[in-house]
Point group: C2
Chain length 677, copies 2
């Protein structure tokens, strides 16, 4: 058939042209690491601090338990990384946690993961920006009272940059990320070397006395266990963002799955090392930090506003020789930068997820295509607005925001690994080769261990953080889940209504065709519309105008009569200054008289080139169109007249290269600019 | 001709049906007074206070001059009222200051008046709400620190009420207005009676000592004159809103012009009486009020926040026996209510003015018709937002806001009376009857005196208030003026481009017609579109789809081949997940090949009934339409498929009565509800 041949030819030719450039466009591992791993790597900047903050409510007594908790977090990190390497190998097409959950556990579970991921994106922005501001304030303590404004301002900057569609470039990410890794590793190495040689670094808060909060002076076994669990669930913030690589496998160079798995392993190793180093150094240099600064002895009545430097800031100062040292500012700058970049990943991950969800009709279908740029802009604005609101409500406090963050993260961890267990189960049911089966059984065990541990952590997080703020995240997730389910149900009901059974009968041709031209005024656009209307095969043609002002209507009638136009003009009365009602009432009367006819309503429109011109034209005809579309048996024909500005717009459009869509880098999409010429 | 006969019949029949009900719908004088006069009547509530505030910067020395300034204001009020009675008689069709200025002084002057009136509407809302809050706080001093929030909240309430389209009912306005008039007159009468019988009321601030501000201790003749002029220009706030009746003459019962003129006179009389009474009482009871409360002796370091009751509040308390008396609360309640109603007049006057300006193409044309409710909603929101911003910036201070208010008011006064002078001049040039000529010369003299005096006041206002805030109003007026001129110029340029010369040649019929059906997916809407497409007289019909996902495209091809559809399907490649570019590129290629042909692009659409459904459907096709409309030689045919919700919407629409448009009462428009049945 003609159709088939066309498709085959185009696809082949198109692919052939692009295949050479494909390799260069995809990401090498060294650039993929910064783009996908900036989120998890940056979260080690505040994970240690969060553990210390939880223990500090009990004074100095249990700070030493930090090392045990950190070890548990590292073990969990290793488990999750190894588990996600299986995901990456099994799903090389990307899609990550959502694809795994919906493919193996059913659409409902997939939707839960999707809702959790959407909440995650918002929280990533909020927490990363808050932590970044923390570090900026550590470098410049005078900014302490402007924390919230600074945080909201940063979110606004990120939103603006993303609205303008700046390309997510690997190089832009690489510098700050590697700088951060290098600075932290150098700092840890220097500090540990000093400790070994007997010249251990000492934090500025080392000597501060910390009183326990009320009720925490004596801790029994139960309350101590609860405290340890709370510290552990806060420390698990170091794992946030690990799944990003599994979403972006198509962006890697071949062999995609292996490179992605390797990058994941490297990321896990670096994260674990940095986290261990920071924690060790924190204990060595005896950093003291408290959620409520009034716990420190010797503070005055304004103790609640006492500025405290971040743990990583105190370590940098202790190792590199004070708050004026170059090393201190380098570490703070790199930390703040990588945290801001981590926030940016949410703006790029969102269109990817939205496109996938839209394809499955859980979100409006236009998010699956490039056509509607406005949809993505709205999404970016919504994301930024909610993050900014959270920062404002919680005073840009990382500790408070983390309570909302962890819940979504571990929901998607647990469900995706449970999905993998079922995936391997299904594979084992059909696989016969012994070697492959052994490998699959091993993979299944790894994922099962991962699912159980993260499931346990999920329960711990729910138990310890629900009342402290996680209920908000839970409510938001439930809301999103209901919304997406409602959208899908709407589309499904519609598909049933609109279904065409095979064999497809052609609809019966209408009996008669009646053409009606709407005449707002006598101008060139109307004359063109009249000409096109008469070119249609119509049994009857007439023109219709509405008499909103009597003098205008009489003028029009006079000109019509004296012109050579051979189409009768009907003037509809309009006592209430309306255009739409008289016309729709008239059309309805025609439809009632002859229900089997089709009425073509021809409407002249102005094609505009500038956004503000659409405020000055076509508004009333758009309203008319929407009302006419409600009448069965009516077809609306728009005859455009191109205004001069629209011709200029056409020249600009045909000349302007197609820009890369947001998130295209992560999708591994072809770059239109590379294809031209 | 057919057309002519139709119009005549409809208009006659329509009017005949409605003429009996016409009389009942228009406003009797007793209801017109509250609607049109609430603004000027309410401004006497704060006019006296403003005069006293200006004089108080010089301490107690010149407070006695208030009576002279008040007298001058009353004289000006009489002049303006008498002058506007001429306007009302000469322009019984309404249109007020704008119609007079643009008809007699040219469109530029008319536009200046229009810009001034638009600024006026915003300031009416801001000043009236601020004064209303002042009086509420006088009754409940505990609310003093929440003034600004209260004011912004009131503006939000007014906006909401107007967005919902509550009818501007004469009765709703009548009660508070007459209550206010009655309460104030009773208060003045009681107070004056007490004074005459030797029992003069004494204000609470009567004994307070007032120090002059720095630099005002010794006043020379020049600086004293300037002070008096400043006080006078502040006192002129009593005249704001006088022209409202001239805009609304069509709303009166017959004889319209005479009733309107009478109402104007009554309004002037009542205003003058109340103003004189309040001023006299203020002087008798020795009210002391200061712009800067620190001027009072015996105030502490927190003097800047010292609450002061409004003058009218102090008078009520003095006359009726203290702040707990019933009379005090009645006066305060009535004052606050009438001020809020005065703010509401702006929301109703705006659509009237906007419709007139839109008819002359100074504003987007859809504002002239009822069709686009969204335009008016946007206007109401804009009005409320700017008023709220002004209240927030100026801390809801009536004194500060008045500096912006008077400028626009007196600009329109001066220009409209100057326009009347020219109007009478033109009438005199053609009039021969001696009696009429005498009357016209008298009218011209009255208007000339009015124009000169208000012109003088305008200069005084500019000189005294420009630096104190009037520059903002001036800048806003200039901005609006440029905007409206720009819109008019755009429409004019377009009219030239689109002009059709007589005799009107019919456009040449196209050579060939090529029909192209866009097929997003195989469903009932598409099948209907295909059926309608084949019903057109086309030389060639084909279907086009875009392969965004390869599997979906192949599915579609398969179904198409096995169906009985006799239309070839062309599949366009889309490597960048776009719908629009492939289709527009293909259409452009067709146009290039045969420039004289017409291409009908048939697009199936979904007709939706709920607002959120339009977020889920049609978005991409709307984008496609707007891009296709840029291509000359293309006609877009929309074939709607009515979703179930659209059928429900149709039932609701045909059943729901047409509501009265905002401002319809002032226009004297027929009431659709009265016409049904």
């Amino acid at each position: 058939m003609i159709g088939f041949a066309e498709v085959v030819k185009r696809l082949l030719v198109g692919r052939a042209l692009r295949s050479e450039k494909l390799h260069e466009r995809l990401l090498p591992k060294r650039l993929a690491l910064p783009i996908f791993a900036s989120d998890p790597l940056s979260s080690v900047a505040y994970a240690t601090q969060e553990i210390l903050l939880v223990f500090s409510v009990a004074g100095l007594a249990f700070l030493h338990l930090t090392s045990w908790v950190a070890t548990a977090v590292i073990v969990l990190l290793v488990v999750v990384v190894v588990s996600y390497r299986q995901v990456v190998r099994a799903y090389p097409g990307g899609g990550g946690s959502y694809a795994v959950a919906s493919g193996n556990l059913g659409p409902t579970a997939g939707l839960v993961v999707a809702a959790a991921l959407l909440v995650d994106y918002v929280m990533t922005v909020a927490v990363s920006v808050a932590a970044g501001v923390d570090n900026i304030v550590s470098a410049f303590p005078g900014l302490h009272e402007h924390r919230v404004s600074l945080a909201v301002g940063l979110v606004a900057v990120l939103a603006t940059v993303n609205l303008r569609g700046v390309r997510e470039s690997g190089r832009v990410f690489a510098v700050p990320t590697y700088l951060f890794i290098g600075a932290v590793l150098v700092m840890c190495a220097t500090g540990l070397f000093g400790w070994v040689t007997g010249n251990a670094p000492v934090a500025e808060s080392a000597g501060w006395q910390l009183r326990p909060e009320a009720g925490y002076e004596q801790l029994t076994g139960l309350t101590l266990t609860v405290l340890i669990l709370r510290a552990f669930s806060s420390g698990c913030t170091a794992l946030t963002g690990v799944e990003a690589i599994s979403n972006g496998v198509p962006a890697f160079r071949r062999p995609k799955a292996r490179n992605a798995a390797t990058t994941l392993a490297v990321m896990g190793l670096i994260s674990a090392t940095m986290f261990a180093g920071i924690t060790a150094l924190a204990l060595i240099s005896q950093v003291r930090i408290a959620a409520d600064p009034c716990q420190f002895s010797g503070t005055g009545p304004d103790c609640a506003d006492l500025p405290q430097r971040t743990v990583i800031g105190q370590l940098a100062a202790a190792v590199f020789g004070g708050h004026d040292s170059v090393g201190f500012f380098v570490v703070q700058a790199a930390t703040a930068l990588v945290l801001v970049l981590a926030a940016n990943t949410a703006f790029n991950g969102f269109p990817l997820l939205a496109s996938l969800l839209a394809r499955h009709r859980y979100l409006p279908e236009q998010l699956h295509m490039r056509g509607d740029r406005l949809a993505f802009s709205n999404g970016i604005i919504a994301l930024a607005a909610i993050a900014a609101a959270l920062l404002w409500v919680f005073h840009a406090s990382v500790t408070d925001l983390i309570h909302l963050y962890i819940l979504g993260v571990f929901t998607s961890f647990t469900l995706s690994q449970a999905g993998m267990v079922r995936h391997w189960g299904r594979a084992l049911a059909v696989e016969s080769d012994a070697g492959v089966r052994r490998h699959q059984r091993l993979a299944r065990t790894i994922n099962a261990v991962g699912a159980l541990t993260t499931g346990l952590v999920l329960i711990i997080v729910l138990a310890t953080k629900l009342t402290e703020g996680a209920y908000l995240a839970l409510a938001a997730g439930v809301l999103l889940w209901s919304l997406m389910r409602g959208i899908r149900r709407h589309y499904d009901v519609l598909a049933t209504e609109l279904a065409v059974t095979d064999p497809i009968e052609e609809s019966v041709a209408p009996a008669r065709v009646f053409t009606m031209v709407v005449v707002p005024r006598m101008d060139a656009a109307t004359v063109r519309a009249l000409g096109y209307a008469r070119a249609l095969r119509a049994d009857h043609v007439e023109a219709v105008t509405v008499a909103i002002d009597r003098e205008d209507a009489q003028d029009l009638l006079r000109r019509w009569d004296t012109s050579g136009i051979n189409v009768p003009l009907k003037v509809l009365d309009s006592p209430y200054r309306e255009l739409t009602r008289p016309i729709t009432a008239y059309v309805r009367s025609l439809v009632r008289k002859s229900p089997r006819d089709v009425i073509y309503v021809v409407i002249p429109e102005y094609s505009v080139g500038r956004w503000w011109e659409s405020l000055l034209h076509n508004r009333t005809t758009l309203w008319l169109r929407s009302r006419l579309m409600l009448i069965p048996g009516v077809v609306i024909i728009s005859v455009p007249w191109q205004l001069p500005s629209s011709r200029r717009l056409t020249r600009r459009l045909t000349r302007r290269p197609l820009r890369r869509a947001p998130g295209a880098v992560r999708r591994g999409e072809p770059d239109p600019r590379a294809d031209r010429g």
